[in-house]
Amino acid sequence: MLNCREVSRLVSESFDRRLPWRARFLVAFHLAMCRICSGFRRTLRLMEREVRRQAGNLPSPEDPVEQLPDDARQRLDEMVRRFLGNGQ
């Protein structure tokens, strides 16, 4: 029998690889009886789905947070100008 700590570790692992059949069986058996671990798995599943869905998108230009700081912007502009100025 696995305890909740071990099950939670396997549940997390199941997002990164296909578990061996014996581990899958033990996890399924535990989840059938344990509401907390079931809730944990559901939470992870929804979190992973939402995070993956939003992560691939280039953030929208209107999103005001974490704008390129002014000094960084100047350095980047300067780099581009120099590069283009060198006639490359």
Partner: protein
């Protein structure tokens, strides 16, 4: 083509790249690298590579997507260099906030995330998620960024971070525990 402010094929002249794409690329890099110096470096490397290779951009697909493709490789490059300087977390902390000594939960997962999220809720989720990610130990956050945000296979992430598979899984487990707990504490989960 050079010297025109708007080149054919929806391309901007490179002088306007920073203005048009700077914020977006920076934010993308910030989420994954979590500090301003590294994010700026990744963006700078991206613009530099784009300037050097701008003849290779075919005009198929958006220019932003093309730059993003370059940025993704640069983010991994920067992360790969930085991760070696990050402090190593003890595998088992002195006091485990999630489990007691018998491996039983200290946390309740009776509530779960609401699904599907409405548009406004998704923006709110994302804002809170970003803050939760900031709270993670650096190596855990990097592992999560490379594996989940960048959606790379585990063996590649291991190679980038210089760690074993079992090591990676331990880190991702801790990262997910902390992120899920943080989201729950910040009201991003509901009673079913």
């Amino acid at each position: 083509m050079q010297g025109e402010s708007q080149a054919p094929g929806g391309k901007l002249s490179p002088e306007r790249w920073v203005e048009r794409y700077g914020d977006q690329l920076y934010r993308y890099a910030m989420l994954r690298l979590r500090n301003a110096v590294d994010a700026e470096e990744a963006v700078q490397q991206t613009f530099l590579a784009a300037l050097q290779n701008r003849d290779q951009y075919s005009g198929a697909g958006s220019e932003g997507a093309w730059l993003l493709g370059i940025l993704r490789r640069k983010v991994v490059d920067v992360a790969r260099r930085r991760v070696r300087e990050m402090p190593i977390e003890p595998e088992v902390p002195q006091w485990d906030p999630y489990f007691d000594s018998a491996g039983r939960w200290r946390v309740s997962w009776a509530a779960t995330m609401q699904q599907p999220l409405e548009e406004l809720e998704r923006a709110e989720f994302w804002r809170i998620f970003r803050e939760c990610l900031q709270g993670l130990p650096k190596r855990h956050a990097t592992a999560f960024a490379l594996r989940v945000l960048e959606d790379q296979p585990s063996p590649e992430v291991c190679e980038q971070m210089g760690i074993s598979l079992s090591n990676l899984w331990v880190m991702l487990h801790r990262a997910r525990l902390q992120l899920a707990t943080c989201l729950q504490a910040r009201g991003q989960t509901r009673e079913l």
